[in-house]
C-alpha cells in the first residue's frame, strides 16, 4: 500500500463526506465530519458507542440525510438524491450488521441470491455468482441449510456474501464482530481483509479500539460526533500474530467478565434448598 489516504482523491474516492452535520432533537449526532475513502481502501471506524458511528454509516447508505453537509457515494450525492435513486445506491454499497439480518425462512443460498434476484438478473448468472461467493466464504457445503442452524460466525459470513452479490464498490460493516466469539470474529475479519484484497473498499465500524490497532490500516476515530483522529496504523508482526494477540486479549477479557458475572449471580441468587 503506497498511496496515502489524505491525497484528496476526489476522482478516485468511493465515499466522500464533506462537513457532515446531523442533529436530532436535543442532540448533535455528527458535527462537521470530513473524510474520503479511496477505491479499494480498508478503513476502520472506531469510537465508543454513541459516538456517531452507526449514524455516519446510515448517512452513507442514505437511510437518513444529513442536516447539513454532503455525502457522496460514487455518482450519488446526498443533496441531490431522489427516493427512487436509493435502491440503485444500495446495490453499489454492501451493508453488514451486527445482527446479520438474514431471512430465517430461506436457505443460505437463497439469502445470498436475494440481492441479485431483485435486480432481475438471469437465473444462471445468479447461480454462478452465488456458488462462487459460497466458496469464497467457505460455506458451499451448507448452501441448503437454514441460517438459524448456522453458528454466528457462519451467519455473518453469509450476510457478507449477500452484501457482495452485486459487486459493490464498498462494503459497510457496522460492528460485524459484535456478537461473535473471538474465533468467529477472527474469521470474519480475515474474510473482510480477503475481500479488500480483491479490490472492494471496506469501512468497518467497531467500538473495540484495541481490536483493530495493529493491522496497518487506516483508522478514523470518532468521538462525540467529531473526527478525533484519522491515521494510518503501523503493522506489528504478521497477521496471525496480531490475531493471536487479540485472541488472548479477548480470552482474558471473557474470563474476567465471566468471573464478575458469577460473583454477582452468587451474591444475588437465593441459596438453593433442594
Amino acid at each position: 500500500m503506497t498511496e496515502e489516504h489524505n491525497e484528496t482523491p476526489q476522482d478516485r474516492s468511493v465515499i466522500g463526506v464533506y462537513h457532515l452535520v446531523k442533529t436530532y432533537p436535543g442532540q448533535n449526532a455528527l458535527d462537521d465530519v470530513n473524510f474520503a475513502i479511496a477505491n479499494g481502501e480498508f478503513v476502520f471506524l472506531v469510537g465508543p458507542s454513541g459516538s456517531g458511528k452507526s449514524t455516519l454509516l446510515r448517512m452513507i447508505y442514505m437511510d437518513e440525510y444529513p442536516t447539513s453537509g454532503q455525502v457522496v457515494v460514487g455518482n450519488f450525492v446526498s443533496t441531490r438524491m431522489k427516493r427512487r435513486d436509493i435502491p440503485y445506491l444500495r446495490r453499489r454499497v454492501g451493508i453488514v450488521f451486527q445482527d446479520y439480518k438474514l431471512l430465517e425462512d430461506r436457505t443460505v443460498a437463497e439469502n445470498i441470491a436475494i440481492g441479485m434476484r431483485i435486480t432481475g438478473a438471469a437465473p444462471f448468472s445468479i447461480k454462478r455468482r452465488v456458488a462462487s461467493l459460497l466458496n469464497e466464504i467457505g460455506l458451499y457445503h451448507k448452501r441448503e441449510a437454514k441460517p438459524q442452524t448456522l453458528s454466528g460466525g457462519e451467519q455473518q459470513r453469509v450476510a457478507i456474501a449477500r452484501a457482495l452479490v452485486n459487486h459493490p464498490a464498498i462494503l459497510l460493516a457496522d460492528e460485524p464482530t459484535g456478537n461473535l466469539d473471538p474465533d468467529s470474529a477472527e474469521d470474519v475479519l480475515r474474510l473482510l481483509f480477503k475481500i479488500n484484497n480483491g479490490g472492494t473498499a471496506v469501512l468497518m465500524a467497531t467500538h473495540d479500539h484495541s481490536f483493530v490497532q495493529n493491522f496497518g490500516q487506516r483508522i478514523i476515530h470518532l468521538r462525540d460526533g467529531k473526527v478525533y483522529e484519522d491515521k494510518k496504523t503501523g503493522l506489528v508482526g504478521n497477521l496471525s500474530d496480531r490475531l493471536d494477540a487479540i485472541r488472548m486479549d479477548r480470552e482474558r477479557q471473557r474470563r474476567v467478565e465471566h468471573a464478575i458475572k458469577r460473583q454477582r449471580t452468587s451474591s444475588l441468587a437465593p441459596t438453593k434448598t433442594e
Binding site: 440481492g115 434476484r117 432481475g120
Partner: protein, 289 residues
Amino acid sequence: MWRRILYIVDEALRTVRRHKGLTSISVVIMSLSLLMLAVFLLATDNLLKLVSETQDEMKIYVYLDDAAGQDTIEQLYKTLLTQEEVSGLQFVSKEEALADFKGQLGEDADLIAALRTNPLPNSFWVEPKPEFKTRDAMVALAERFEQLRGVEEVRYGKEFLDKFSSIVKGIYTIDIVVGFIVIMSAIFIIANAVRLTVISRQKTIEILKLVGATNPFIVAPFIIEGAFQGGVAAVLSLILLRIVTEVSRSAIPEINFFSVEKSLVYMLTCILIGALGSFMALRRYLRMR
C-alpha cells in the same frame, strides 16, 4: 420482463406456503367479514328485485268517457303515446273489458247476461317508463291525464302506491345505514388481517430495502398475495352464503342467490379489496424516514 413477473409470483407463493398458519387465519377472518357483507348484499339484491317486480306491475288506467267517439280516442291515443314518461300503451275496448270480466267471474258469468248495456268503459293501460314509476311521478302523470279531453277517470292504485313508497323509503334508509356499518367494519377487519401478515414480514421488507430492491419489487408480491387471499376468502364466503341461503329458504322461499355475473363482480371486488389492503398496509413501511 417475464423474469420479473416470475420472481414476483414466486415470492408471493413462497410467502403463502411458508406462512400457512398466518395466511389461513387471515383468510378465515376475511371470509367471515366478507360473509357479513355478502349477506347484506344478497338481502339488498333480493329487496331491489322485489321492488322492481312490484314496480313492473304498476300501470295507469285511463278510463274513457262513453261519449268519446272514434276521433277522440285516436287523438287521445296519439297524445298519450307522445308523452315522454310513457313507454307503452294498450287500448282495451268496452267489449274486451267485459269479456275479460266474464272470464274472471267464471261460473257467475251468467250475471253479465242480465245486463242490457255494457257498463264498462273503453280504457287505455298506460305503462310509464321505469324511472317514472315513483309515487310523485305517477300522481303528476295521472293528474295530467285527467285533464285530457274524453277522459272520464284515471286510476293508478293510489293507496297501494302510498303505502308501497313509504315502505320502500323506510327499507332503503335502514339498508343504507346497515350497509355503511357493514362495509366499514368489513374493510376495517380486512385491513387489520392484512396488516398482520405485513407486520410479520417487516424484516423481509427491511432487508429487501437494504439490498436495493425497488419499491415495485417489494410491493408486488404482497399485492399478489393480498389479491390471492381476497379471492380465496371470496369463494369461501360465497359457499357459506349459499349454505345460509339454502337454510333460510325454508322460511322465505322467495330468496334468490346471486346471479353468476353478480358473483363474479363480487369476487373481483374481494380480490381488489385484498390487493388494496396489502398496499395500504405496506405504504408506511416503504416511506423513508
